[in-house]
């Protein structure tokens, strides 16, 4: 039996109603995790702890207060967390628990279409979460120009996309959800803490500083911060875009191939 192959656009559009339903039914559940929680961090770390930090723009990558320094980093780290949340347990659910992927595959949809739609959903969640976060931050007076936050938001969405693709490539190969716990503890948590979100990576010492530079989150934090503070090094921007773009493409390919093997098509 052969079926007509759908174009990528068609494959995506056909799943719109499904993901829209998922969104309508689940957005409240993620509301506190994706919105209230980061705001607590801004107040605790940025405002209260920041009160004990003397802001020296030379040491804080151009920021004039610790709050202005930490906030763009926090949003970028948040983009990563939302992306990881959407591409771990839900992906295993699609394969193993709810088996929605199998159901989708019984239609003219291909594995590629399923991956595309799931990733598109994850990235939309990232884009929304970061947009709301940035809007709330605006009154704190942490942005240096009117256009910077928009470019910073673009950087946050890109880093979210990179993590969504890479983590999905990991999740489709995983047999037990224990791996996710380990991923969070030795991946997400250390990345959040050491990728320059809370302090300049120069504080890590030479060797660890280069390790931090090699992580995808640092590239996102740096993009987000440079644009928020209007302290842009365009050459560095190109490096960040190339790096994160490569992670997206490689991750996407590995995700499609991994899921094809898993579902044996």
């Amino acid at each position: 039996m052969t079926t007509r192959q759908l174009s990528a656009r068609e494959g995506l559009l056909r799943q719109l109603d499904y993901w829209w339903t998922v969104f309508r039914r689940t957005w409240r559940g993620g509301f506190i995790a994706s919105f209230v929680a980061p705001l607590f961090y801004v107040v605790a770390m940025g405002v209260l702890l920041g009160g004990f930090i003397q802001a020296d723009p030379d040491r804080l990558e151009g920021a004039t207060s610790y709050l202005a320094f930490v906030v763009p980093g926090l949003v970028a780290a948040h983009a990563m967390q939302v992306a990881v949340d959407e591409t771990t347990y839900p992906v295993m659910g699609g394969i193993k628990w709810g088996k929605t992927y199998w159901a989708q595959l019984a239609t003219p949809l291909q594995v590629r279409d399923i991956v595309n739609a799931h990733l598109a959903f994850a990235i939309t969640r990232v884009a929304l979460a970061c947009a709301v976060f940035m809007l709330v931050l605006a009154p704190f007076g942490v942005f240096a120009s009117w256009w910077g936050p928009f470019a910073a938001w673009g950087g946050q969405v890109l880093v979210g996309a990179a993590f969504a693709c890479a983590v999905m490539a990991f999740s489709v190969r995983l047999r037990s959800d224990q791996g996710f716990g380990v991923l969070y503890r030795i991946g997400v948590v250390p990345l959040t803490l050491f990728s320059g979100a809370f302090f300049p990576i120069a504080n890590l010492g030479v060797v660890l500083e280069w390790v931090a530079r090699a992580t995808p989150l640092w590239h996102g934090v740096s993009l987000s911060r440079m644009f928020s503070l209007d302290h842009v090094d365009w050459l560095l921007v190109v490096v960040h875009l190339l790096y994160l773009g490569t992670v997206c493409v490689v991750g996407w390919r590995l995700a499609v191939r991994g899921l094809e093997q898993r579902l044996e098509v």
Binding site: V43, F52, I186, F198
Partner: protein
């Protein structure tokens, strides 16, 4: 054994069982300790296959310590603790110790307990044996404490190796961490018995995060000024735990330390009583 067999036949119309609540079976002679031990053993067996998850649980607070204590610490000018200067890392480390005992207890006594209670129906099965609700409560909490104290002990060793321990009183920081874990395990397990679905866990996050971030873990309580806010913070349980650990690792004990201990002991005992009652009403009726 004979009476037990007879009562399983519901159609016989016999009056073999009088209680009708599954409590008829005699308790084994070992008593409460043995019963709790069986539940601890069960947890140990299930975690044996998830050892990576167990092992990496220790890493999280250590990561926080390195990141906040050292990375952010390089930016902070340093605090005064009771009039004496203290490095930021030495200030934050005991806070992390208390917070990790708190977080660990919370995870074990909410998510895990809820899953066993509602999805696995594990406690229903346990109560079909001679185990009582009190045994289940004590056993689960004991397991949480064993798991938490291995993490705390490892964390204290890391603190000592990093030169962040300033007094021999720090030896008591381990029991203090276990006390924090006990108080929160008991209360959170009690609260979990009222939960209906996973949506309710949002409320836990909503309580957990502010406690974690605002209990003088990352900055001194003086940040709140001298108003009502400061009194509110000082009355919360994690704050009591954080300052207790800090007083022990820096050797600055006071009467307030005793207040913290009494507070946490009372909180744990109240939680334990409530858990026992709630499990009994939920599962035996």
């Amino acid at each position: 054994m004979a009476t037990y067999d007879a009562s399983t036949d519901g159609t016989s119309g016999g009056t073999g069982r009088t209680g009708g609540t599954g409590r008829a079976a005699p308790r084994p002679s070992g008593g409460a300790a043995q019963a709790a031990g069986i539940i601890v053993l069960r947890n140990y067996l299930t975690y044996r296959s998830a050892w990576k998850l167990f092992l990496t649980g220790f890493l999280e607070p250590v990561f926080y310590l390195f990141s906040i204590g050292i990375g952010v610490g390089a930016l902070v000018e340093g605090f005064e603790l009771n009039g004496e200067p203290i490095s930021y890392a030495a200030f934050v480390a005991p806070g992390m110790l208390a917070a990790s005992a708190f977080n660990g207890a919370l995870m074990d006594s909410t998510y895990n307990v809820f899953f066993k209670l509602k999805y696995d129906r594990l406690y229903d099965q346990m109560l079909a044996t001679p185990l009582t609700p009190a045994d289940v409560a004590r056993g689960e909490i004991a397991w949480g404490l064993i798991r938490g104290s291995t993490y705390s002990a490892a964390f204290l060793l890391v603190m000592t190796a990093m030169g962040l321990v300033e007094s021999w009183w720090a030896v008591l920081a381990l029991p203090a961490a276990i006390l924090i874990a006990f108080a929160f395990s008991a209360v959170c397990m009690a609260l979990t018995t009222w939960m209906k679905s996973f949506q309710d866990f949002d409320k836990i996050t909503l309580a957990q995060l502010p406690l974690f971030l605002f209990s003088a873990t990352f900055f001194p309580v003086s940040s709140y000024g001298d108003g009502v806010l400061r009194w509110v913070v000082e009355a919360t349980p994690l704050y009591r735990g954080v300052v207790l650990c800090r007083e022990l690792t820096t050797g600055q004990l006071s009467w307030a330390s005793g207040v913290s201990v009494l507070y946490l002991v009372a909180m744990g005992l109240v939680g334990l009583v409530v858990v026992r009652r709630r499990l009994a009403t939920l599962l035996l009726t």
